[in-house]
Homo-oligomer: 710 residues x 2
């Protein structure tokens, strides 16, 4: 009996141990976005005021928000039967679709645009578009599709194709996003509300010098010229055309001004007669909201202007009231935080809708009367996103999401419900149905914890004071597996540090990169700090870096180092740093300005000298090299190469068009001139990030560099 | 007294130890070609039958070969006085000069061509040439200078400039060496004996695709297109023009044939009426010695032809007899070794002058009657060069150099003497005056042993059998400093292995790279073996690699490894390999075909896939990819990347136009695809070799890689 008991204990112990798996590098890099990614409902969206839908096992299911019952609305088999009838290729998976109304959806399959009636299960209409069509933009108002082929713009529908532009020079580009996707620009075509007109960006890059990239994978290396205007250099010229489908004429808005200003955040008036452009000067310190007559292109009015001594950064189009075509909502950081303002088209501010030392991060919608506005914001905490509604008149605000975490809402038609998809430190994913009336919550879905069988280092979030001694900075630390406070551990600082990004969030695992868990399993502490300059902390926090990139960010990061040095279990002689892009720049700043601290560094796709960076992002933060010579000099890592000590690996994608490889190459040359040893690796076919399966190779390269040298 | 004695001993011991310095990496890389290079006489040459000259302390001294007395012939002060008189910039050092006759020399200073009379110490004549003149070729017959500016050819003298070509397209190049300097081609202009005509190469590269190199050091990276025809691709077209200075007309030789044949080894007939071209077909297996009428360009005669089942490689122009303008000397490897043949212009072979299983490596000249021919050859040993004279009629051969080593001779006018400059294993440099009559030797100069104070590992040369079990291969081994046969040492194999090079020679230190001594001081054995395929061992030895590059060479290198493994003091688990160019290719062959043997490898500027190598060299050894698909496949290192284990560092010059960087880049991509870790470094401004001060950085990088990983 005793023996049997012992055996049982041993067996139990083995089971228990085998349950605690170690995260492999493949799990950490590829698994996190595929086989270990927590599954969430597919294509969750509202069909009507009371029903939401999602895809389950490739079939479309409808759920009743009140009655909580569900029904299979449309199967993949149904879909394929409908497609087959029109001789369109059958599908293996339910395509991504959108509702036109509660009975019709549209989707794209096999170069066909299809409108399908869910009720009678038949195709309402469909048409083919060109094999090489790109940048598709479907208008449900007129059932027509705008698209580009190479640099020209077309529209098509059931009645054939209209070619809108015919530019021969490939460096004149129509219908694509412009200004390198800065200023919130994500697309290049804008249908008017009724679909009778199509506004589109027209970008002339012919005056920008050719920048040579090389495709080394050809039998004979092949030149691929791109346009990459660098800070202070001649930039491209953008105009906005409006094509009238009835007259088949294009009118260009008479935006005037210097050629290199920025046309941002296009918005049609509700009647489709005028169009609004947030026009920003190249210096990026003066924005005009201009209204143009869509039929003549004439400037009707500068509705209002906004200026700032550092920079204005419009990133949200204005949003017209559904009730009053004379009113619109406008987002601005003019009071120091991103808030919503209500304006009329005369340019008078009616009210500031939201207010406070927190940021509106997304608008979700309004109720029909526009008494309430729904939004996501950082009101609760800068590292959370919660759902709120505000009474536009009284200012009374209700928090609609319950648990601390990062919530994302979808408002129902009729505004009775919010679908709240959220994660938190220990919640890999959950969907709640929230009643906007009383905040009553019903859990619809809980994602499986895909890491539950893995042994992971302890992950904590806390704050430290910035170098100003006042500001709280959020930090995340992951301790090694089987942490023993009496031992000494090496640390790898993972850094980004630039604007428009925040690495520490209350999401699942506090947004840790799983690579950090991997390194924790190898005995490394992972540390990350969001310094001043990073996002979601207000304007002053973010724009303090203006004209002096790398300075404040580095000072703040060093406060993290001070903290690490204060910990008895940190081996202060074994601190490393890694970052990519702005994080690569920061890695160089830290390594070169504090060579005594950082023994090993890996900088990926780093900016070395901002004068080799592009105009739009670069000049926002640094002005031009002519305007800010000292700033450029101080931020130029070539001027710190002489401080290099220890191990530094630089990695670059050969095809990088964001931070061009010459940045790294010039740094290597400087090191060679100074007889400083530096390491280098390239990913021949990758652009600014190493994506796909090759990411495993990349992370293995980075891991090995720390494992071998730190 | 006793105490004093002890002190003395200690002092002596310290002195002795400090005398044994260790070679620094700087000494080994930069010192070997500068501050530690053994000094040899400057500009040693014959003035006349009895007097030779050299520069000492910037003054020109004359020595009497018989009487052994010396006199300062011309001082730098004399020279500068003469220059000053003509308002030519005074010089800090005696310029490089050539004798026109025993009283006149010519030289170039400060864009002036100057003829100076040594006797009356005055300038005979001088003229200026253009600031951007390149490829200067001075003709003493007419005192005119041929030169190029960009792609065009000019001549000038005291009577002004004549522009010979006026091609606007920069890819039509006149007066430059062609065919990528293969086939012994070193220049592109050829003055007729009297100087009344100038033959020149005219190369049209317009049909060759542009190959993109990128200058990353510009503010904005700059494209630099070059012409790099790859194996099997369309190649350039070369013709030979002859410009007549009297008529000012150029006639092109009617060479006909396919455009991509090779026009090699140009030679004028002694009367200047015809010109001889060794024309080789693109397949490089059929050479025709063609004679053209210089005034009409018509083919007079194909004097003779030479074919070979592997390849014919003409690298020496024919050399006309001084006594009989109908006879010429011709060098060929047709009997398996490079020998000299006497022909008449009808194409009849009069005699084979030299014969035997050794190679004539250089012709030095003939006596006036052409009874004797003087030459350098490998007759004594393939790793020595000795001086010989042969009785052309009887074949009787005399060895004129005494000590085993590598000798280089300068025959005096009148052929009474040879100046013999030589080195040997323990002789850093020596000049002897040798009587051609009786071989009597007089030592003129002994270079200082610049390494005498350094502690160096033992350096031995020996032979091993090749993989065929028959052929002797020469090897060099350097043992670590303070070698102890009871210990185990790691080994670094340094390899080249390709044709036209030999690494083991009886020169000073047996041609060891001093870096090998440096690594020996760090405890590494250095080993080098000249496999089959390397030069100076006869045709069969060298051309066995034809159509199968990397195969035999690797098999032979592995015989070296077998030997190393047999040594009790070799640590067989710590063997590394390093090589550059063909040696980079060999490094990859060894590392990838024998991953269990080579723990660490550093391949510099490696050929990875011969289909990415250029036409002239590539097709000689491999034919075209179409003709030899299996050969290309077997020699393609991309097909062995899956075998990669351990550490491999690849280094490439970004500006490499010999082995283009895409070779390395494609190998990286293959490794990434296979998830194999590989290391990489680039030298941004360097071409095929890293030269100048940056070489120290390079060798430090390579050294560290072995020190860290082997």
């Amino acid at each position: 009996m005793k023996q049997i008991f012992v055996l049982f204990v041993v067996f139990f112990f083995i089971l228990n141990v085998s349950a605690q798996k170690t995260l492999s590098l493949k799990d950490a890099t590829l698994g996190s976005s595929s086989y270990l990614k927590p599954a969430m409902p597919e294509q969750l969206k509202w069909k009507d005021a009371r029903h939401y839908v999602m895809i389950k096992n490739n079939n479309l299911f409808q759920y009743n928000a009140q009655a909580k019952d569900s029904v299979e609305l449309f199967s993949l088999a149904d879909l394929n039967m409908a497609l087959k009838e029109k001789q369109i290729k059958e599908q293996d998976a339910f395509p991504r679709f959108s509702f036109i109304n509660e009975s019709q959806i549209w989707f794209q399959v096999d170069k066909h645009l299809v409108i399908l009636n869910l009720e009678n299960k038949s195709i309402v209409t469909y048409f083919t578009y060109a094999e090489d069509a790109d940048l598709l933009d479907f208008c449900t108002g007129n059932s027509m599709l705008a698209y580009t082929i190479k640099n020209n713009l077309y529209i098509t529908g059931t009645k054939g194709i209209q070619q809108i532009t015919s530019d021969v020079d490939l460096h004149i580009i129509n219908g694509a996003a412009v200004h390198r996707n800065e200023f919130g620009i994500e697309k290049g075509t804008f249908w008017s509300p009724s679909g009778n007109q199509l506004a589109f960006y027209h970008m002339d890059e012919t005056m920008v010098g050719d920048y040579p990239l090389v495709d080394y994978m050809a039998r004979e290396a092949k030149l691929v010229n791109v346009k990459y205007p660098m800070a202070g250099m001649t930039s491209h010229k953008v105009t906005l055309g409006i094509y009238n489908l009835a007259t088949k004429q294009t009118v260009y808005m008479k935006t005037g001004g210097p050629d290199d200003h920025y046309l941002t955040n296009i918005c049609w008036s509700p009647d489709g007669k005028s169009i609004f452009i947030q026009e920003l000067n190249r210096e990026q310190n003066h924005m005009k909201l201009n209204r143009y007559d869509a039929s003549t292109g004439e400037l009707i009015k500068t509705v209002f202007e906004e200026q700032d001594k550092r920079y204005v950064e419009p990133i949200h189009p204005i949003l017209f009231s559904k009730n009053d075509p004379d009113k619109f909502y406008y987002q601005s950081r003019r009071d120091g935080w991103n808030h919503v303002y209500l304006y009329n088209t005369s340019g008078n501010q009616i009210s500031q809708v939201t207010r406070g030392e927190w940021e509106v991060t997304r608008l979700l919608g309004f109720d029909t009367e526009e008494k309430f506005m729904y939004f996501e914001a950082t009101m609760q905490s800068p590292i959370e996103r919660n759902l709120y509604r505000i009474n536009i008149h009284s200012g009374k605000t209700d928090k609609l999401s319950e648990e601390a975490g990062t919530h994302s809402g979808i408002l129902s038609p009729g505004q009775q419900y919010l679908l709240d998809s959220w994660t938190s430190t220990d919640v890999p994913g959950q969907v709640d149905l929230v009643s906007t009336k009383d905040g009553h919550k019903q859990i619809l879905y809980k994602a499986q914890n895909t890491l539950k069988d893995f042994e992971l280092g302890e992950n904590t979030v806390f704050t430290l004071k910035a170098a100003d001694g006042i500001t709280d900075l959020y930090c995340r630390m992951i301790k090694p597996n089987n942490f023993d406070a009496s031992k000494k551990y090496p640390v790898i600082v993972y850094v980004y540090g630039g604007p428009h990004d925040q690495l520490v969030n209350k999401t699942w695992k506090n947004s840790a990169r799983w690579w950090q868990y991997y390194m924790a399993s190898k005995g490394y502490i992972s540390f990350t700090l969001d310094n001043r300059g990073s996002e979601n902390r207000g304007k002053a926090f973010e724009d303090i870096i203006h004209r002096q990139l790398g300075v404040v960010e580095t000072d703040d990061q060093m406060k993290g180092i001070d903290y690490l040095k204060s910990l008895p279990y940190v081996d202060v002689n074994r601190i490393g740093v890694h970052g990519w892009s702005y994080g690569g720049f920061m890695t160089l700043n830290l390594k070169l300005k504090h060579p005594d601290i950082f023994k090993v560094a890996v900088a990926g796709g780093p900016v070395v000298d901002w004068s080799m960076y592009e105009v739009m992002y670069g000049e926002r933060y640094m002005d031009t090299p002519e305007e800010n010579p000292d700033g450029y000099k101080n931020a130029n890592m070539l001027n710190y190469a002489d401080k290099l000590q220890g191990k530094l690996l630089i990695i670059h994608g050969v095809q990088d068009q964001t931070v061009v490889m010459q940045q790294s190459i010039q740094f290597l040359k400087k090191c060679i001139d100074l007889d400083k040893q530096v390491d280098f690796f390239v990913y021949p076919t990758h652009e600014h990030n190493v994506r796909g399966n090759d990411r495993l190779h990349l992370m293995e390269k980075i891991s090995n560099y720390f494992l071998d040298n730190l």
